[in-house]
Symmetry: C2
Subunit: 277 residues, 2 copies
C-alpha cells in the first residue's frame, strides 16, 4: 500500500470532489462509488475499479477487511486516507470509510441482452437522481430485464443515483439513449409499450401486462413527451382516489411494474414455498 493521504488539499482528494460534477465525470469517464454496500455490489458485478480509498477509523462493521482484500487481490490500488481528507472527499454526511473510483460502463443498446418476453422499464427525461436510483432498485426487485433511460437530464453515474439504487445500478442492464431510438428498438423486438399518463382511459390493472412488455414513465412535472404518447402501443393510468393529482415518478413506476409481476406470476404454477393464508 502507498503512503496514506493526510492532507485535504492532496490532488487525489481534489479529483474525488471534482467527480461530483457531471462535466468532469463525462470527461474522465470515471465515477465514484461510496460505502460498503455499494462497493461490494460493484465488485460482485465486475465493475472496473480504478482505485479504492479507505479510512479505517470510519469503518462501521467487521467485513471491510475482507472486501479490501478482494479489491486488492484483483490488482486495484488501495490508498489509505486520514479521516479529515476522507470526509472532504466523501459525498455522504456519515461516510463509511470506503470510496472507489470506477470506470463508467457501456450504456448503449449493445449492453442489453433481452430474454424471451422481457419486462422492461422505460423512463423519459428524468431529472432527479434519487428517483432514477429508486427506479433501478425497484426494477431489480421486479425482475426487469432492462431499464432504458431516454433523454435524461441526469446521468446514471451521479452519486445520488448510485446511492439511491443501493448498488443496483451495477446489476440491472441499463441503456441511456434517445426516445426515438427506443421506440424503434422496442418495436423491432415486438415488445408492447405501455405509456403511463393520467389522461389514459385504461387502468394499469385492466391492461394485459404479460409477454414482452415495456412500461414507460415520464417526469412528474411534465409527463411523457408526445413522441411517447403517440408512439406507444397503449396508454394506461394508475387510479387516483385522493386530492393530489399525481404520484412520485418512481412510485408510479414501481406500482405499475409490480402489477405486471402479479399478472405474470399468476400465469405460473404456485411456488412450492408459498402457502395460503
Amino acid at each position: 500500500m502507498s503512503d496514506p493521504i493526510t492532507s485535504p488539499t492532496n490532488p487525489q482528494i481534489k479529483e474525488l470532489v471534482r467527480l461530483r460534477d457531471r462535466r468532469h465525470r463525462d470527461r474522465s469517464g470515471a465515477f465514484v462509488v461510496e460505502g460498503y454496500r455499494a462497493v461490494s455490489r460493484a465488485v460482485d458485478a465486475n465493475i472496473e475499479l480504478e482505485r479504492l480509498y479507505i479510512s479505517p477509523d470510519l469503518f462501521l462493521g467487521p467485513n471491510e477487511d475482507q472486501l479490501i482484500d478482494r479489491v486488492a487481490g484483483a490488482g486495484t490500488p488501495v490508498i489509505e486516507v486520514a479521516v479529515e481528507p476522507f470526509r472532504k472527499a466523501a459525498y455522504r454526511d456519515r461516510p463509511e470509510g470506503l470510496l472507489a473510483v470506477a470506470r463508467q460502463f457501456d450504456t448503449t443498446f449493445d449492453s442489453l441482452a433481452l430474454p424471451t418476453d422481457p419486462l422492461v422499464l422505460v423512463v423519459e427525461a428524468i431529472e432527479k437522481p434519487g428517483n432514477l436510483g429508486t427506479m433501478l432498485r425497484t426494477a431489480d426487485a421486479a425482475g426487469c430485464a432492462a431499464v432504458i433511460v431516454c433523454d435524461p437530464t441526469t446521468d446514471p453515474f451521479n452519486p445520488n443515483v448510485v446511492r439511491a439504487s443501493t448498488g443496483m445500478l451495477f446489476v440491472v442492464p441499463l441503456a441511456v439513449v434517445s426516445t426515438e431510438e427506443t421506440i424503434r428498438w422496442l418495436r423491432e423486438r415486438a415488445i408492447t409499450t405501455f405509456a403511463t399518463t393520467p389522461e389514459a382511459e385504461t387502468l394499469h390493472t385492466d391492461a394485459a401486462l404479460t409477454g414482452g412488455v415495456a412500461i414507460v414513465v415520464g417526469t412528474e412535472q411534465y409527463g411523457l413527451s408526445d413522441s411517447w404518447l403517440d408512439g406507444a402501443d397503449h396508454r394506461i393510468r394508475i387510479p387516483m382516489a385522493g386530492t393530489a393529482d399525481s404520484l412520485n415518478a418512481a412510485m408510479a413506476a414501481g406500482i405499475t411494474l409490480f402489477e405486471a409481476v402479479r399478472q405474470r406470476d399468476a400465469g405460473r404454477l404456485p411456488d412450492s414455498d408459498s402457502t395460503g393464508m
Copy 2:
C-alpha cells in the same frame, strides 16, 4: 402590510431558520410551509397560518397574488421580505417566494374519523422525512382513510415531510402514536392488520386486502418490531425477483396499498369512464 424585512439578521428571519430544528418546533408548536403548492394546499385544508412571508421578486407564476389575497382576507399577517433575507429563511435551494408559519395540528387518535371498511397505512419507526412525505402523498392517491405513524424518529412537521408530501400532510388524516396504542386501537375497531416483512410466506397479492384493512410497514434497515410481527393478524411480503433484498420503505407501502386498491375496486361495478383495451 407592515414594513418589508430587508435584513438577514431580522429576528423573524432567525425564527424561521430555527423552525428547521425539531426541538424548536416542538417548543413553539409551529412549523414552516414553503412554496406555492404547499401553501395553497394548507389554505385549502384550513390549516391555521400564523404569518405569511412573501418575496415577490422570487414568484414563479401568475397565481401568487390570488393566494396572498386569500390568506390576507382570512386575517393572517402578510410580511414582505427582500430576496436576500428570504433566501436565508427558505429551506429550498430555489425558493418560490412564499413561506408560511403554521400551527401544528392534532395528531392524536382523536383526529381520525374512520369510514366503514377503511384502508389504513401504518408506518413504524420511520426515520427519513422524505420517505414519510412520499408515503403521505401515496396514501392520499390510494384513498387511505388514515395514516398512523408509530414511534417515529422524525416528526411530521419536518420541512422535508411537508415538501415530499406535496401538501398531502394537510389532507390525509394522520395520527402519530405508539405501536402498543395502535395495535389496541385497530383491534377495537376490528380492522385486520397485515405486517409486511420479507420473512412472510404469503404474497401481498394472495392476501385478502378488502374490508377494514391496515397495511403495516417498518423501516428499511430493521423492518418491523416484534410487537408488530407478533401482534399483527397476518404477515405478507412483496415477491423479490432480483439481487437486492429489499425495496425502499415508501415503495413497499405504495405497492401494497395499490394492490389493496386493485382488490377493492375489483369488487365494485365497472366505472362508466373506463374502456377495455
